[in-house]
C-alpha cells in the first residue's frame, strides 16, 4: 500500500524577543492601536536608513549555537524585492548567500524512533506589516513591520507529520530555553511554511509544493497530512503535481493555490548597501556559547540517568525553563530530587494553576523549598503538613521554619505523648481493636487516623504506627 515516500522540509519563522525593532527604536510589543508602533524608518519613508539592532545578531547566533550550527564568520544582509502593501520599502531586508548560521541539526523522537533533522541555515530578517481586509478595501498597519525574525530552514529530512510535530515542539523548547523568542503562536511569533513532495520508492524526488499560513502546530500537522494525501491521490490517478505555492485554510481543513510557478516572484536579491557586513570573531561566538543554558533534552537525560527520575517527571519538569531551573537549584541546595519533583508536580503546579500564574511568578525561592524539604526529611513536619506550608508560602513571604514555628505545625515526635494518645484511641475503639486482633491487620490504619486526628495532624505517623502495634501486641 505505502508505495510512496513523503519528503518534507520546513521554513520556520520565529520573532525575536528584543525590545526594539530590527532597524529602528520602535517597540516590538504585540498589539497596540494600528500604526502607533511606527516611525519613518519602519514605514519605509524616503531617505531613511536602517540601523541594525545588535541583539538581533546575538539572538540569531544563540539560536544557531543551540541548534548545533556553524556560525558564519562573515555575514551580510541582502534585499529581497517584491511589491506588496505590507512591505513598505518594496523589499524585505533579509540574508541571501551569507546567512549568520549554517548546517546544524536537532535530534527528535517521533513515534518512539529517534531521528536527526538537519538545519540548512538560519538567517535574520524583518517581519512585514499587517493587512486588514474589509469589504471593498484593505487597511494597512505597520506595527509589526520591522519586528526581527529568524528564519530557520531545515533539510528535507521529514517523512511524516509526527516528525514535523516533534521537531516543532523541540524547536519551540530550544527557542524558549535560549530566550530568543517567546514563541507565542497566537501572536504569530512562531510560524512555519512546509515544502512537501512525494515520490514512488526507488524513484527520484517529486515536484514539491510550498504551503503557507500554518499558524499552529496542529495546523502544520493537519496541513502535512492533507497535502501528502492530496499529492498521493493526484499521482495515483496518473496526474502531475505542479510547483505551486499553496495557502492552508485551517478552518476548512484544506489548501488552495495562491501562486503558480509561472508567476513566481523574482526577488532580485542583492547586497544591502546601507547595512555594513557582520564579521564575527571566535571570541564573540564563544562568549555567546558560554551564556547558553543547558537545553531541555540534555536536562531530561540528566534527570533520568543521573538523578534516577522517571521519564515522566523529567518531561514535566522541563516544560518550562523556569521550573527546570528551580528544580535544579533546589536539588543543588541539598534536597532529594524525587521529593522536589513530587512537590513541583503536585502542590506547586496545582497552586500555580489555581491562581492562574505563569511559572515565573512562583513566589518561593529554591532555598526556601530546600529548607521545607529538609524539615520534612528531619521529621520536623509531616509530608501533608509540608503541603500546607507551601500553600502559606504562596501568600506570605516567610521562611518555612518560621511558618511551622508560628503556627505550631511542628510534628510531635515525643513518644510519651504519642503513647498516651494511642492508649486513649485503643480504649475508645474496642470494635476496631477486636477486628485487628481477629486478623484484619489493615484495621490498624483506622486507629492511626484517629490518633492523627487527635493530634491535629502533628503526630509523627510512623511513630504512631509503631506504638500502636506495640500496645496492641
Amino acid at each position: 500500500m505505502d508505495e510512496f515516500k513523503t519528503v518534507i522540509g520546513l521554513e520556520v519563522h520565529a520573532e525575536l524577543d528584543t525590545k526594539s525593532k530590527i532597524y529602528c527604536g520602535c517597540t516590538t510589543e504585540f498589539g497596540g492601536e494600528e500604526n502607533t508602533h511606527v516611525c519613518p524608518i519602519c514605514s519605509g519613508m524616503p531617505g531613511v536608513l536602517p540601523m541594525l539592532n545588535r541583539k538581533v545578531v546575538e539572538y540569531c547566533v544563540r539560536a544557531g549555537l543551540a541548534l548545533n550550527c556553524a556560525i558564519n564568520p562573515y555575514s551580510r544582509q541582502d534585499r529581497k524585492h517584491y511589491f506588496y502593501p505590507d512591505l513598505p520599502k518594496a523589499f524585505q531586508t533579509s540574508q541571501f548567500d551569507q546567512p549568520l548560521c549554517l548546517k546544524g541539526y536537532v535530534d527528535i523522537v517521533a513515534d518512539g524512533q529517534p531521528k536527526r533533522i538537519g538545519i540548512t541555515r538560519i538567517h535574520i530578517e524583518e517581519d512585514a506589516g499587517k493587512l486588514i481586509h474589509e469589504v471593498g478595501q484593505t487597511r494597512v498597519d505597520y506595527n509589526r513591520c520591522g519586528v526581527p525574525l529568524i528564519e530557520i530552514v531545515t533539510e528535507p529530512d521529514f517523512e511524516n507529520s509526527a516528525q514535523v510535530h516533534a521537531f516543532l515542539e523541540a524547536l519551540r523548547e530550544i527557542l524558549l530555553y535560549t530566550e530568543v523568542s517567546n514563541c507565542k503562536m497566537e501572536e504569530g511569533s512562531l510560524r512555519c511554511d512546509v515544502n512537501l513532495s512525494i515520490h514512488r520508492v526507488g524513484e527520484p524526488f517529486g515536484t514539491r509544493t510550498e504551503m503557507k499560513n500554518l499558524n499552529s502546530f496542529s495546523a502544520a500537522v493537519a496541513a502535512v497530512q492533507y497535502e501528502a494525501q492530496r499529492q498521493r491521490r493526484v499521482l495515483s490517478a496518473g496526474g502531475k503535481i505542479t510547483q505551486d505555492t499553496l495557502r492552508w485554510d485551517d478552518a476548512a481543513g484544506n489548501n488552495y493555490v495562491m501562486r503558480s510557478k509561472e508567476d513566481a516572484d523574482e526577488y532580485f536579491y542583492f547586497p544591502e548597501p546601507d547595512i555594513m557586513p557582520m564579521v564575527l570573531s571566535d571570541g564573540y561566538i564563544d562568549r555567546i556559547r558560554q551564556t547558553l543554558p543547558e537545553l531541555p533534552a540534555h536536562r531530561r537525560e540528566r534527570y533520568v540517568s543521573q538523578m534516577g527520575l522517571p521519564l515522566y517527571d523529567a518531561q514535566l519538569l522541563t516544560v518550562s525553563k523556569f521550573i527546570s531551573d528551580f528544580f535544579d537549584q533546589t536539588v543543588a541546595a541539598g534536597a532529594q530530587p524525587k521529593s522536589v519533583s513530587n512537590f513541583i508536580m503536585g502542590d506547586i503546579m496545582r497552586l500555580l494553576n489555581e491562581r492562574g500564574w505563569a511559572a515565573e511568578k512562583l513566589p518561593i525561592s529554591a532555598q526556601s523549598m530546600a529548607e521545607l524539604l529538609s524539615l520534612i526529611e528531619k521529621g520536623a513536619i509531616s509530608n501533608s503538613m509540608g503541603s500546607k506550608v507551601i500553600e502559606i508560602m504562596f501568600d506570605e513571604a516567610k521562611s518555612p521554619t518560621d511558618i511551622v514555628q508560628e503556627r505550631g505545625m511542628a510534628q510531635v515526635s515525643d513518644a510519651g505523648a504519642i503513647r498516651e494518645m494511642c492508649r486513649q484511641v485503643i480504649a475508645e475503639n474496642p470494635k476496631i481493636v477486636d477486628d485487628y486482633k481477629g486478623g484484619k491487620v489493615k484495621a490498624i490504619t483506622a486507629l492511626v487516623g484517629q490518633v492523627m486526628k487527635m493530634s491535629r495532624g502533628k503526630a509523627n505517623p510512623s511513630m504512631v504506627n509503631q506504638l500502636l502495634e506495640e500496645l496492641l501486641n
Binding site: P40, S43, P46, G47, M51, F83, P85, F268
Partner: protein, 484 residues
C-alpha cells in the same frame, strides 16, 4: 585667500565667510542677508528653487536674537543657504523634482539639514534638480529645467543644477547638493562655482532620498574653498542613523586652506585628458597645472588604466540600486496615486508609470534588467568586481600623488534640449566624475577659467580616502593662482 569684501558692496556678492564676518562685526543682520536673498530669488528667472521656505525670515530673526544675546552658534549662524530638494526637511515639502513626491512633506529632517539648522543657518528653500537626482542637466525635473545663470539658454548641469545655479546667481551663500556620479561637481563646473563630493561615508546620508545607496554622497556647493571648509566642518562626521557614516575624527579643514601648492604632488591621469575632452577644457586644466607648478607643486602624468570601465560599472550599479530604492513609490504610503484603477496591481502600475518621468523609468528598467534572473553575475556582480579593480588603480597612484587633477566635465554647458534625446550621449558626459563615486573617493570641482564663449570650465581634484583636507589645500592654491 581672497581679499575680504565688506557690507559696503552688494550683500548678495559676499561669500559665506565674508557674510559671517559682517554679521560678527554687526555690520549686517541675518534678516538683511536673508531678505536680500529672498528678493533675488523672487526675481530670478532661472527656475532654481522648487520651494521657498516661508519661515526663512523667522529663522533669520532668531539668529539675530541669538547674536544679540551673545549666543552665536558658530561661523555659519545666520547665514542663509538652500538645500537640494532630495534632502528631507521636516515640515517643508521635499519633492525630488518628481511628480511622485510633489506634495510630500517629511515628518523628519535629514541629518545634514539638522546639522546646518543646529549651526544656525537659515534655510531659504529647496532647489531644483533632475528627478530623483538622475541626470546631468537638471532638465529632468517635474518642475521644469534649471537654466544656467551664466547663459539662460544653456543647461546648468546636473543633477544638482539648482544647487549650483543658486550659488552662481547669488541666491544663497552656499547650498548642498548630492553627488552619485558627479551631480555636485559637474553642475558646479558648468556654473562656475566650487563643489565638493567628500569621501563616501564622510557625511551622513540619513534623510537624503536614496538614488544609489552605495554611491550617493552629499556635498557643499560654495563660492570658494574657505566656504567649502566651513560647511564641510559643520556637516561631516559620524551619524548614529547612518551605518555607512565614518567615525574618523574631522581634521581642521580651515587650517588646510593655508597649505599652499608648494610640495603638493599632483598627478594628471592621461585617461582623463584624451579623446572626448574638448581642447579648450584640456587647455584650461593644463594651464591650471602650470600655475600650480609655478607655485611649487610637482605635476606629473600618471595612469588609471581601468578608467574606461568606470562608466559602465557606474550605470549598472546605480541603476540596480535605484530600481531597488524606488520600489517604495507605489501610491500606498505617501506621494502620488493614480486617479482611476480597478484593483491594487493596476493602482501600483499606473501610479508608478504616471508618477515617474522618462529618465527615472529608463533607469528602473535598466536596473531591473541587470538584476533579473540570469543577468546578475554578468552585470551587477561584474560591476562590483570592476569596482574593486578601479579602487585598486586609485590606491596605486595615491602612493605617488597627493591629488589628481582632471577636467570635471569634458565640455562646457550645452544648450537646453540639445542632448535630451540621446541618453547614451548624455551618460558619456559623466566620464570624468563617475569613477570617484565608484571608488568612494573625495573630489572637488573648482572654477578653471572660461571657454571662448565665456562659459565656465571646471577642474577636478581627486584625493585618496578621507583626503578632503588636501583637496581644500589644492583648491585654495588654485584660487590663489587666479583663474586662467
Amino acid at each position: 585667500m581672497s581679499q575680504h569684501r565688506t557690507a559696503g558692496e552688494d550683500l548678495a556678492l559676499l561669500t559665506a565667510h565674508e557674510a559671517s564676518r559682517c554679521l560678527a562685526e554687526g555690520k549686517v543682520s541675518s534678516v538683511q542677508l536673508t531678505q536680500r536673498m529672498l528678493d533675488r530669488i523672487s526675481q530670478s528667472q532661472n527656475n532654481v528653487f522648487i520651494t521657498v521656505n516661508l519661515k526663512a525670515l523667522e529663522e533669520a530673526a532668531a539668529a539675530d536674537a541669538r547674536r544679540a544675546k551673545g549666543e552665536v552658534r558658530g561661523p555659519l549662524d545666520g547665514i542663509p543657504m538652500a538645500l537640494k530638494d532630495n534632502i528631507s526637511t521636516q515640515g517643508l515639502r521635499t519633492t525630488c523634482a518628481s511628480r511622485m513626491l510633489a506634495d510630500f512633506v517629511p515628518p523628519y529632517s535629514a541629518t545634514v539639514a539638522r546639522r546646518l539648522s543646529d549651526a544656525g543657518c537659515v534655510l531659504l528653500g529647496k532647489l531644483n534638480m533632475d528627478e530623483f537626482a538622475m541626470g546631468s542637466t537638471s532638465e529632468n525635473s517635474y518642475f521644469g529645467a534649471v537654466k544656467n545663470p551664466k547663459d539662460p539658454q544653456r543647461v546648468a548641469g546636473g543633477s544638482s543644477g539648482g544647487s549650483a545655479a543658486a550659488v552662481a546667481e547669488n541666491l544663497a551663500y552656499f547650498t548642498l547638493g548630492s553627488d552619485t556620479g558627479g551631480s555636485v561637481r559637474q553642475p558646479a563646473a558648468m556654473c562656475g562655482v566650487m563643489g565638493m563630493k567628500p569621501t563616501y561615508g564622510r557625511i551622513s546620508r540619513y534623510g537624503v532620498v536614496a538614488f544609489a545607496s552605495s554611491l550617493d554622497q552629499i556635498g557643499p556647493i560654495t563660492k570658494d574653498a574657505e566656504d567649502c571648509a566651513l560647511v564641510l566642518a559643520a556637516i561631516a562626521g559620524k551619524d548614529p542613523y547612518d551605518g555607512s557614516s565614518l567615525a574618523n575624527p574631522l581634521p581642521d579643514y580651515l587650517a588646510a586652506l593655508e597649505g599652499g601648492a608648494k610640495g603638493l604632488r599632483i598627478g594628471i591621469p592621461k585617461e582623463y585628458m584624451g579623446e572626448g575632452i574638448s581642447p579648450e577644457v584640456r587647455a584650461a586644466v593644463e594651464a591650471m597645472a602650470k600655475t600650480l607648478e609655478d607655485q611649487g607643486a610637482v605635476v606629473e602624468s600618471c595612469s588609471l588604466p581601468r578608467t574606461e570601465y568606470a562608466l559602465s560599472a557606474y550605470y549598472v550599479i546605480s541603476s540596480a540600486e535605484a530600481c531597488s530604492n524606488l520600489g517604495r513609490y507605489d501610491g500606498v504610503k505617501y506621494g502620488y496615486r493614480t486617479k482611476e484603477y480597478k484593483n491594487l496591481a493596476e493602482m501600483i502600475e499606473k501610479t508608478r508609470s504616471e508618477g515617474f518621468g522618462d529618465e527615472v523609468k529608463r533607469r528602473i528598467l535598466l536596473g531591473t534588467y541587470t538584476l533579473s534572473a540570469g543577468y546578475f553575475d554578468a552585470y551587477y556582480k561584474r560591476a562590483q568586481q570592476a569596482r574593486t579593480l578601479i579602487m585598486e588603480d586609485f590606491r596605486k597612484v595615491f602612493h605617488q600623488y597627493d591629488v589628481l587633477l582632471t577636467p570635471t566635465s569634458p565640455v562646457t554647458a550645452w544648450p537646453l534640449g540639445q542632448k535630451h534625446a540621446n541618453p547614451l550621449e548624455l551618460y558619456a558626459m559623466d566620464v570624468c566624475t563617475v569613477s570617484v563615486n565608484v571608488a568612494g573617493l573625495p573630489a572637488c570641482s573648482v572654477p578653471c577659467g572660461l571657454d571662448s564663449q565665456g562659459l565656465p570650465i571646471g577642474a577636478q581634484f581627486i584625493a585618496n580616502t578621507l583626503g578632503e583636507a588636501v583637496l581644500l589645500r589644492a583648491a585654495a592654491a588654485a584660487e590663489k593662482g587666479g583663474s586662467v
